[in-house]
């Protein structure tokens, strides 16, 4: 039982980060049909900027704020400088642009910062807690609470504010949204900003546990993308569930079956699910117009 709980907690912690990356994918995809493969770089920026700001003597809350603002600015710049100029290009062209952006951002991070692994102390100390025989870092609980908070805030934003409704409208039908007076370019830009913020918060929260480095974004983007597809692309709840499931599969797979093949187990399950449910767990079958 303690072993089970241990795997459960570590799976949930890493799954929460996948969920945040998957949420970022979903938001941008909904607003603009772009699969943003630079999504993992926002997580990297969150962790790296916080570390180097703290190393420069800035206290944690302000360092985290600087990281958050940096990520949002980069997210907006990505939209204005790379995505918007290519508006109307095919989805695969836009995907290559975001891959180019992720290579670029990694290159910049390697120069502005360095290529070493970094971490900073957990926000509530590093004294592990005992829960049912499993040892849990307080930071894990902060990651989970933070993720929950983001999901709730996002839900409120999407359902209770005009901005959120404009985002939903843009996602449903861009032309119709324009016709009722929504500035869709602004809304798409906003979705890049919000996605960047979500990724950066994930990075800020998880770095004390997983460390960070200029190169962590690639793997996170890959897992986040898989999680988003598992949940059903374009479905925010699906993204969160997909992220948690991928994290849990990895953790239990590594613990009970084989640590060398932990990624394989996650992907085998994803393949199996897609064979049975080709639209993901929460996606709906769409009708193709001829």
């Amino acid at each position: 039982m303690p072993e089970f709980l241990q795997f459960l907690f570590s799976g949930l912690t890493i799954g929460a980060i996948y969920a945040l990356v998957a949420l970022g994918f979903t938001l941008i995809y909904n607003a603009s049909d772009v699969i943003n493969f630079a999504q993992g770089e926002f997580v990297m920026i969150g962790g790296m900027v916080t570390f180097f700001a703290m190393a420069a003597g800035i206290p944690l809350p302000f360092a985290a704020l600087i990281a958050l603002v940096t990520a949002i600015i980069i997210g907006l710049l990505l939209h204005v400088l790379a995505i918007e100029p290519a508006r109307g290009a095919s989805p695969v062209t836009l995907i290559i642009i975001t891959i180019g952006a992720s290579i670029f951002l990694r290159g910049v991070a390697a120069i502005v910062f360095d290529k070493n692994y970094h971490s900073y102390p957990g926000f509530a100390g590093s004294e592990p807690l005992q829960i049912g025989g499993a040892t849990v870092l307080p930071q894990s609980l902060i990651v989970l609470a933070g993720t929950l908070l983001i999901v709730v805030a996002l839900w409120l934003l999407m359902t209770r504010t005009m901005i959120g409704k404009a985002m939903t409208a843009t996602a449903t039908n861009r032309l119709a949204a324009r016709l009722v007076g929504i500035n869709t370019a602004l809304i798409v830009g906003l979705s890049f900003g919000v996605s960047a913020a979500i990724g950066a918060i994930g990075g800020i929260l998880v770095t004390p546990i997983t460390l960070t480095n200029y190169d962590v974004g690639t793997l996170l983007a890959l897992k986040g993308f898989a999680a988003a597809m598992l949940g059903g692309m374009g479905h925010p709840l699906g993204a969160v569930v997909g992220g948690l499931v991928v994290g849990l599969l990895e953790s239990f797979g590594a613990g009970y079956i084989s640590s060398a093949y932990k990624d394989a187990i996650a992907f085998l399950v994803i393949l199996a699910v897609l064979f049975v449910m080709p639209q993901g767990l929460f996606g709906r079958a769409d009708v193709e117009r001829v």
Partner: protein, 313 residues
């Protein structure tokens, strides 16, 4: 006659390029890079048949590439199979795997297909990394030389000609396929799957043909790269390699055979040239990718062709 030029002019252009380059390039170092360009072109050409003509995305082609590469390393080393036979077996194995998993995987559409092929590629890469008894694990393993009738294939010049001639044959095969009823069926599927089905095209079958063929192209290219390098590592078959193939195909131009060669050339030559920038290499590469895609959206070859046509008229 006009039809002949329209169909086979491209094959002649590539053949001419392969024949003339050795007289232009100043040293064997450049021949080595040219050989790499040809090898990657073969893989990208196959992927382009799948993506550009059949309209099906694959983010896992490095897996097939890896099967070819590891076949020529593992079969001769552990089972005493002659290298040429191992090469053949690798291509057949990749084709067979594509045939088996193609049916269920190709039912998925768009991004779902992308994530399924991605998963397949990662599973294969994990096998190459973890089955260290056979594959040497993360460090990889040496690859024996290709021997044909007592003649040993080694060195840049030899491999320049082997890969160059193979590329010409690969282009010939692709051109023939595209101009056949199969090619027309594939393009119909690309434009609209439903419309193609209504016309009586067996959509699943034609998608499968493109998938199997592209897997074979990738495996052949992988075997060549392994034999040329004399070493194979899991990075050969890694996720980044898959992304590289897709990027080459899209940069050069989806649905353009010449584009496959141009895309492969650009992403092979560019990193070699960018090494002078040292640390700034990745920044430059990322920027170039973005700029090319923003200004030449349909890919380099189709976009430039469109530009010339507009200017001519």
């Amino acid at each position: 006659m006009q039809d002949f030029w329209r169909s086979y002019g491209l094959v002649l252009v590539v053949a001419l390029l392969v024949a003339v380059l050795p007289f232009i390039l100043p040293s064997t170092f450049y021949l080595r890079i040219a050989a790499l360009v040809f090898i990657f072109s073969i893989a990208v050409l196959g992927l382009n048949l799948l993506m550009g003509f059949a309209g099906q995305v694959s983010l896992g082609h490095a897996g097939f590439f890896g099967i070819g590469a590891y076949a020529v390393a593992v079969a001769p080393t552990h089972f005493g199979v002659p290298v040429w036979l191992a090469l053949l077996l690798g291509v057949i194995a990749a084709g067979l795997l594509a045939l088996i998993i193609g049916r269920p995987i190709l039912k998925l559409k768009g991004h779902y297909l992308a994530v399924a092929t991605l998963g397949m590629g990662i599973l294969l890469a994990m096998v190459f990394t973890n089955e260290a008894r056979f594959t040497g694990g993360p460090d990889g393993m040496p690859v024996p030389r290709l021997v044909l009738f007592g003649w040993i294939a080694r060195g840049s010049v030899t491999w320049y000609w082997i890969s160059g001639v193979t590329l010409v044959l690969a282009v010939l095969l692709a051109v023939n396929l595209i101009n056949s009823p199969t090619g027309r069926a594939l393009r119909a599927i690309h434009d609209s799957e439903v419309a193609a089905r209504v016309l009586g095209i067996d959509v699943a079958r034609y998608k499968l043909i493109a998938f199997v063929l592209s897997a074979g192209y990738a495996a052949l290219a992988g075997a060549y790269l392994a034999l040329f390098d004399g070493l194979v590592t899991p990075a050969t078959a890694g996720f980044m390699r898959s992304i590289e193939f897709v990027t080459m195909a899209v940069l050069g131009g989806l649905g353009s055979i010449l584009g496959s060669v141009v895309g492969a050339a650009l992403l092979t030559v560019l990193p070699q040239m960018l090494t002078v920038f040292h640390d700034y290499e990745h920044i430059a590469l990322g920027l170039i990718m973005i700029i090319f895609m923003v200004f030449l959206r349909a890919g380099i070859v189709p976009s430039l062709a469109m530009l010339f046509r507009r200017r001519a008229s």
